[in-house]
Symmetry: C2
């Protein structure tokens, strides 16, 4: 049996519910975060919690739990479920709003599911992507709004592509659920700094990379993206995945690049240390 | 006691729930529509249902009910609740998605609440608004995503304004929950045609207006908006409300305009005929 935490108690997954008047159902209004566990230990938990509380604050969501209570709830859920390799999602909604529009005290939901590491095969294959002009509503916030990301799934399936990278006014930003990096032919590692979610894996890569090559946070145009020597995406679920094709243009020689491989190795080592 | 319909049965409002794995809670993914009843009769129901089914289709949401079943559910809810002057909201969510991302068969929720007519005093006062650069994700669709609309409430309160009108690249589009019209100094009634939700009240005004003045659907710039002789907003809840101030600029003489008043009278007559 799998358990879900809602507000102040644990429920069997099928019985974990919220009322239909919640602002998440009425107005898609809520925030969340998502981290992995490895051998029953959360990876980089404090950093995910920092971001979660920041998202809630930025969206004026009133949380029913403080940080310590939330950590206790997470620990309690992990103990009950005992899923050593997992993903844990914390959601905070806008709550049971009497007028169906103004946030009140929110509901907190914590869900856990088994989550295997992305395989080495997946890394070796890399991903093929397309670009699409769009910007999330409040890019610095991890809101639950994925209307565009979910809506674009049909196009991706039809085109047999793995993911979609957003841009705005010719400047690359982020994937619906992950960040982007490029390695230039001049040997610099670059990632967009504006209008993106501050990914935790992205942050770790930005901390690891300067030992390997010059690293910068800057605007990247679509042309610079497609002309990159290497490109990869980072996320909690994907860790680091090479991008081998963008809008039909092969990146590098269509295989995972040398720097991408180095950073991947470093990141796996970092996780092993936790 | 107030009842809510969920999928195939009626529940007391407090017991109407969906599971936390629903895509509306996970990804803000769902559509809805909202119509009024008058003397226990739905106003313009077929047109609202047309739009609802179109929104669901555009967002690949798989409905558990057909149109006749939905109408029966609405009729059943109205009979149980017996709220003659009400608003009825139909929501369809992305459903209990196993992967938390791909739409599956959705959940249908029908909620009813008392809703008084907007008062004549409110009409006479008009509304003061600000403008804001933003476009909804899929403007032709009535999705549940109101992240920006809800988020901007705080600014509106601080500035003591009634609403916010979106624009994109200098072209006016719509309010978070209503449409916009202007009357030009040349005596034409105009409303934006692109990147807006096709409001039912907007449609009725477009049908009524040509008997009174030349009417067009066209791009309107911010300058044209602020220079208008009259401006008003239309929605199911608001019907027709004069806009008397935009970004601190008084519209006309800061009072409801003559054409706005005429159209308001015509629209109320139309409702009385239903």
């Amino acid at each position: 049996m799998k358990w879900t935490f809602v507000n102040d108690d644990f429920f069997e997954e099928e019985k974990a519910v919220v009322r239909t008047s919640d602002l998440a159902l009425q107005r898609g209004y809520g925030v969340f975060d998502f981290f992995r566990t490895k051998n029953n230990k959360p990876l980089f938990l404090e950093e995910y919690l920092d971001r979660f509380f920041n998202s809630a604050r930025e969206m004026f969501i009133i949380l029913p739990l403080g940080r310590e209570q939330l950590k206790n709830a997470i620990a309690g859920l992990m103990e009950r479920n005992n899923i050593p390799e997992s993903g844990i999602r914390i959601t905070a909604t806008g709550g049971y709003s009497p007028d169906g529009y103004s946030p009140v005290q929110g509901n907190i939901i914590i869900q856990q599911q088994p989550l295997a590491q992305p395989s080495k095969e997946k890394f070796e294959m890399g991903i093929k992507i397309m670009t699409y002009e769009y910007m999330r509503d409040l890019p610095a916030v991890k809101s639950i709004n994925y209307v565009m990301g979910v809506w674009l799934q049909k196009q991706l399936k039809e085109k047999r592509l793995d993911d979609v990278l957003y841009f705005r006014n010719d400047i690359v930003t982020e994937f619906p659920r992950s960040n982007v990096f490029i390695v230039t032919h001049q040997g610099r590692l670059l990632t967009p700094g504006k209008n993106v979610l501050a990914g935790i894996t992205r942050k770790k890569v930005l901390e690891l990379a300067p030992d390997i090559l010059p690293t910068g946070t800057t605007d990247i145009s679509l042309a610079e993206l497609k002309n990159a020597a290497e490109a990869f995406t980072t996320s909690t679920t994907k860790r680091i995945l090479p991008i081998v094709e963008i809008d039909g243009v092969e990146i590098g020689d269509g295989k995972p690049g040398k720097i991408t491989r180095l950073l991947y190795g470093q990141f796996v080592k970092l996780e092993d240390k936790v």
